[in-house]
Structures are given as structure tokens and as C-alpha cells.
Symmetry: C2
Subunit: 215 residues, 2 copies
């Protein structure tokens, strides 16, 4: 964003090459398992150049993690904010888009979750400097809307936090746990699982709406 280099644009700018390579290696192997040499090789540059752009492995990791996190979380905001939609519409919109998004970045959920389990402190730092995340406290809005629709008997009485965890979890889980599910239930048939994920968008939407719809 704010890292303009003085150089005239090359086919691919060095910093981009580094971040692309770092993203791939870190997301596949994690902070501890990633090797600076491997990142340098993948980026097609010298290892010393890596340290020229990002002094330490930790600094490079931090950057990669922040980018991944910003893919992982912000879409949730859209659901909370767009006030012109009903709860049902919001859920449908979110599930469809979030599963699509994560399918395009299949390593991000596992990466973010596992690195955050190893070192929850990262999140504290991100929250401090990232407005996007703090704004999720506008989650209050969502809660208000739900309680209002409960009053109007559109949906059953329900706790908004639990609902939110369910909606997000039902989208993320089959991607994060893909190796297990695909291995055990789908006999490791990759195509079958992709198909499953595609059809699942509608299933999840209906599953949730059926559950919360007032009779």
C-alpha cells in the first residue's frame, strides 16, 4: 500500500516477488517450518536481499500474516454493516461470498487459525493497529437487527453471538478440516470434495435459515 519504490516498474517488482513467495511458503509450512532460503529461492533472489527488505523472519511473517488476516476477517463486516438487508438475506449473501472467497484462498483459514493458536499475541497487535477489526464491535448492530426481527416474529429467539459463530464456522470448517473430511468421508477424491463445497453453499444457507426461522 504505502511501500512505493523509486524504481521504475519492472515486470514484477522485487517486493511483490518476495511477498508472493513468502505468502506461499509461510502458509504451507508455518512460521517455524518456513525457511528464508526457500522463500528467497521461490522469489528468485538472493537470501541477503530478503533481509534487506524485511530485516528479520519475524517481520516478514508479520506482514504476510496481516495480509492473510485481512482476507480472512473483513468480509464478515459486510454482513454486519449493509443495513438494507434482512437477516436471512445477509446470511445468504455472506455464506455464498465467504465460501467462494475462502475457496480461492484455501490455505488462509488454516494458516491464520494455527498461527494464532501458537501465538495469540499476534491478534492483540493487529487489533491495536487495525480499524477494520475494531469495527467488528459494530456487531452490536447485527445483534440489534436480530432482536428486532425476533420481536417481529420473523425469527426465533436466538443469541446473536452463537448464531454468528455458527454461520462463520459452517463456512470455514469444511475448508480448514478438508484433509480429514476429504480423507475419511470422500476417500480422498479431490474433485468430489470440490463439488461438495460448491453445493454446500446452498445447503448451509438453508440449514441456518431453517433453524432460525420462526414457525
Amino acid at each position: 500500500m504505502d511501500n512505493l519504490k523509486t524504481k521504475t516498474d519492472q515486470p514484477v517488482d522485487t517486493e511483490t516477488k518476495i511477498l508472493d513467495a513468502a505468502k506461499e511458503v509461510f502458509q504451507k509450512k508455518g512460521l517455524a517450518g518456513a525457511r528464508m532460503q526457500e522463500i528467497a529461492d521461490l522469489a528468485g533472489i538472493n537470501k541477503a536481499l530478503l533481509h534487506y527488505y524485511y530485516r528479520t523472519k519475524d517481520k516478514l511473517f508479520e506482514k504476510v500474516f496481516e495480509i492473510a488476516f485481512s482476507v480472512f476477517v473483513p468480509r464478515i463486516k459486510e454482513v454486519v454493516l449493509s443495513t438494507d438487508k434482512s437477516v436471512f438475506e445477509k446470511i445468504e449473501f455472506f455464506v455464498e461470498n465467504y465460501i467462494n472467497l475462502l475457496s480461492k484462498h484455501p490455505f488462509i483459514p488454516g494458516f491464520v487459525i494455527s498461527e494464532l493458536n501458537r501465538n495469540p499475541q499476534i491478534l492483540v497487535e493487529i487489533i491495536e493497529k487495525n480499524v477494520q477489526v475494531r469495527e467488528l464491535n459494530l456487531f452490536e448492530n447485527f445483534n440489534n437487527q436480530i432482536q428486532e426481527e425476533v420481536k417481529r416474529c420473523v425469527i426465533r429467539p436466538i443469541d446473536a453471538r452463537n448464531l454468528m459463530v455458527n454461520v462463520v464456522g459452517l463456512c470455514i470448517f469444511p475448508i480448514v478440516a478438508r484433509p480429514i473430511i476429504q480423507g475419511i468421508i470422500f476417500n480422498n477424491d479431490k474433485k468430489a470434495y470440490d463439488e461438495f463445497l460448491t453445493q454446500r453453499k446452498q445447503f448451509v444457507t438453508e440449514f441456518i435459515i431453517n433453524s432460525i426461522k420462526a414457525k
Copy 2:
């Protein structure tokens, strides 16, 4: 199981000390992040002794992973097998017990999932030698029961695999994604989140049953 030592039982047998320490370190730091020295220190033994019992880091990891996996997966079998219960009863039984179980081993889900994402091959080996896992193909039973209850108009028409993923996912997700959810929605209030998890058992059960119950 089959690792009987000839030694007369000491307060704590060395192999147990090793496995306990290895479990803790591996589950917290992952395969790549764990240090043999740290495991040895935690077990209160010499590092060479570690290599005496488990020749390599990989072999030790394998053992720890298998134990973790056997906690993670087998309870699912109970749901599929106990034939005397209705689908509703099975779901209630599973959610209650599985969330309890995982709460007692909060690092296992993240550990299993993240190591399996890094190296899905582990699963292939486990499936080959582990009967418990293969038996999950008795998942067919569960499917049959569901389709039968669909016919009897007890539950709506539903895909058994999607249902199963939802049930398991709704239990595992809030534990695996705890750092994120607790950090963003619960302002890092650990107690509040524990309380949330406890209450959630009932919520999840009702959420699922509401969704699949025929009108």
C-alpha cells in the same frame, strides 16, 4: 499399549514422561517448532534418552499425533454405531459429549488440523493401520437411518454428509478458532468464553434439530 517395560513400575515410568512432555510441546509448537531439547527438559531427562526411546523426532511426533488423533476422531463412531437411538438423540448425545471432550483437550483440534494441513500424508498412513478410522465407513449406517427417518417424515430431506460436517464443525470450530473469536467478540475475556462454550452445547443441539426437524 504394547510397550511393556521390564522395569518395576517407578512413580512415573520414563516412556510416560516422554510422551506427556512430547504431547505438550508438539501440540503447542507443532512439528517444526518443537525442540527435542525442550521435550527432554520438560520430561526431566537427558536428550540422548529421547533418541534412545524414539530414534528420531519424526517417530516421536508420529506417536504423539496418533494419540491425539485417536482422541479427536473415535467419539464420532459412537454416534454412528449406537443403533438404539433416534437421530435427534444421537445428535444431542454427540454434541454434549464431544464439546466436553474437546474442552478437556483444547489444543488437540488445532494440532490435528494444522499438522494435517501441512502434511496430509499422515492421514493416509493412519487410515491404513487404524481400524477405528476405517470403520467410519459405517457412516453408511448413519445415512440409512437418516433416509429412513426422512421417509417417516421425522426429519426433512437432507444430505447425511453435509449434516455430519455441520454437527462436527459446530463443535470443533469454536475451540479451534478460540483465539480469534475470544479476541474479537469477547474482548479476550477467558472466563466469559468458557461460559459461552458451556452454554453452547444446548444451543448447538437445538440449532441443529430445529433445522432438520420436519414441520
